[in-house]
Symmetry: D3
């Protein structure tokens, strides 16, 4: 039995026209930026108020003011989603990161085994922490936080790293638990930018 049955999710997906104004605005913005509406916005619209509140928080974590660059935040997204083997988020955030960096080779490294990526020690420490937080959070100790400080991250930055990693532990579970299917458009996104 295939895991998906044509739909975008194992739950009912509301029709676009039934969305409340706040959600329709999210659709318009996404469409303008990407040329399509990411399926997450359609399937999560089953609970429009939750979608809007989640999106406000998510958007600030991923695009708001922070010592972490946009690229670094998407690196965490890809690496955490890979650790959780989340189909939707691996496909979509690999695309976002290819688009941001123009570096599909880097993205292939991050989404198979991030230890092969040629990144700087600060970023390596950041990803090591994100993965430990994901896979064995109860085993984290003060030494893990200390390693981030030694790599050059301030306390505020460490909280941001933890929040972004924790956020994908949230979204990965919605996507994997409810069978969310990514847009086909993501698959080829971000290859043209290179070279």
């Amino acid at each position: 039995m295939a895991i998906t049955s044509k739909g975008l999710s194992w739950l009912r997906t509301p029709a676009e026209e039934d969305a409340p104004p706040g959600v329709k605005e999210l659709y318009a913005k996404a469409n303008e930026k990407l040329g399509f509406i990411p399926n997450v916005l359609r399937v999560y619209a089953l609970r429009p108020r939750h979608l809007e509140l989640w999106n406000a928080f998510y958007d600030d974590l991923m695009r708001g003011e922070s010592a972490l660059t946009r690229v670094q935040r998407e690196m965490i997204a890809v690496v955490v989603s890979t650790a959780n083997r989340c189909h939707y988020c691996m496909v979509s955030h690999s695309a976002y990161l290819r688009k941001l960096t123009g570096d599909p080779v880097l993205v292939e490294q991050l989404r198979t085994n991030y230890k092969y990526a040629e990144i700087d020690p600060r970023e390596r420490a950041m990803l090591d922490f994100a993965v430990k937080l994901t896979e064995q959070s109860a085993g984290c100790t003060e030494a893990d936080v200390e390693a981030l400080r030694e790599a050059g991250w301030a306390d505020e930055d460490i909280l941001d790293i933890a929040e972004v990693a924790a956020m994908f532990n949230f979204t990965n579970r919605l996507a994997s638990g409810l069978g969310w299917v990514p847009n086909d458009e993501f698959v080829k996104l971000g290859f043209d930018e290179t070279g």
Copy 2:
């Protein structure tokens, strides 16, 4: 080496008086309701904007309109935090659930092995899903969602269950990854209400 070093977290905790007005309001509300300020609000104040946005979303999930009762949402909180062995959230949400139910025996069952709890089949299906989402999200299938429908949950409710379970996968990781220490007050909370 002890995991905690006196503080409330492995990161710096901002002084109460330095909090912006929105955060101070959260402190006041919590203090009024509980008689103390839960440490999560102090340690997360290192990034006040994130705290406010997270709290708006969290509060709606846990207290907003939903087919899930307040008690059911706290049951998920306890069971997910137990699966993740999260010290802060096990201690605090056990307290909240004792307070809500006046039933410390039930809480003991949920926070050791929820299969011993004498709950109805709808709630059992809800908790089975929350735990699978937590421990092996990539292994979830449409059959898991179907089991919730058969237990009587509508699609909107299933999304709510998934969101609450996913939310504690978010907070558990912040708490365990950053060494958050719960208030001692939680430990005895909710025992007096019984009988």
Copy 3:
């Protein structure tokens, strides 16, 4: 389906009056000390000779002459039972340890994530070993024993630590494998003693 079906165990529980004299004596002693008969003594009475021989050994390990204090032995009981997620033993030994120490906060730390407990290095080494013995005994090496010696334990004490940890690996399996249900009385036990 609830894991328990009213009874105290998934096996038949013998009537109190059918117990042989040696077992009745255990009931009387326990009743005198606690004000009730712990269910373990009722359900294990299905094989009275085994119960008596086990109890003789168990009682000497937990209360006999040793360099380990009563409290330290109960700390191992709580931490091992938590690692094994044993409902009966977590509930009952948390109660015993609250009663012995008058410190419910400590017990909450030990039964969620013992690394948060503020205990001395000798006790930390003792618990680290008890958990490793429980979760990955085949991975133990001479270095683990050496760490206990360095923390100040003599060889006889190390054997005692190993025996108490191993004993709860015995009882946890009986309790979890046979569905033993703890007395409700345990849940509130040991809170009054504090302060």
Copy 4:
């Protein structure tokens, strides 16, 4: 670094002549039966009172009155010790079971993958339960006990099966945690009896 350093254990082993009379009696009996003293009796003699109490209990479980045959109890010993990868107990109890059955092929099956053993359905149910108890006791349910009843075991027998399996979870941890080395004599024991 080799795991063993010549000795029989990572702890000090008391000299034979220093053993109290009760322990010396155990040595004499074992020597008479096997032609040598199993090292467990030497290394455990560091705490002679514990050794005697443990041995009284162990001996009754393994040789006392029960619906389980001697062979069935040793089958559990081999299968549980294999699941725990316990060097001492795999070597010694494989020898005992070869001696009892004269069937080294059966023993090879039990100590690699017991599913290859050609045993009757009652014994298969017994071993399935022993392994589940060993590897995931917190996941046991009433259905596991029911499967044993359906295979023909009475409640008393199920308790015996659980106790024998739990006992090797006790001894495996002492042996693996303290580096016990089995007597070389065990290795060839029980091959001559066959055919």
Copy 5:
């Protein structure tokens, strides 16, 4: 510390001109077909005789006569390499499968969570078996083989499925254990063929 240090492997890579004639022939053939020499042929040339014998076997498994199509064999390659998180083989065999199928969406499904792939039941059974063989071979039973027969595979085909899955358990271990780095060319390979 980055996992790779510029080179193609953690071991010394022999110069192309030092390769014996049989290996040079492999280089020429690969170059003709792909336009580049896959790094596996360079790094494995440290033991040229092994490389030639391995390649003869591998080539027959992957391209020789079989009831499995070329595409099906590459599907197993991708899914097994994903289960083992093998960087080199995920990158290279995703490329081969995109090239063969012209279907990058299918490849994205297979290399994140193959349950999302819309494939026929025979192929699903084939992949289920390949993954079980990879992740828990000791847990395989006759029922797993029976499920393949029921899906329509003959005994010879089942052996082929097992061999291809086992082969990638071989190559994944060489690549991951010795730090093999895939050619950058693989990353964009097979996207142009689509549409």
Copy 6:
């Protein structure tokens, strides 16, 4: 249900007389050396061309020119097969190693917990790497390879170690996935050579 149903495998085993000449030659050679035909050669003959190509590669790895001795290669075979709990390969390669070394005590150590074996540091490093490659290949790093160099192995030897370990990850999966049953003759093989 027993895992085996009389046969040598869960798949059909071809009759000896139906084997092509190349396979019959393998039978003759094995028979001459051992006095019987190992079942692997019978069950794998379902795909005779694969059997011959595999055997050519396998034979060179295990008996061809290498800095690893025959004994060291069989040590890897036993330790990897133990880590994978492969019934066929544990039984057969324990026998081969007993025959080669005349040391059944060593073989017992290697097939229960190789850390108890009294071997030299080079061999210990070799086995540590073989087990890591088997159990967590994606976690291997350049430091693991460096540890082998420090123990005295050249790069060519490290490739040989990895290949032999990877080969048993191949054969273990065929044997465990297809239910191969070892010849009874293996069980007693290699005990007489001792002393």
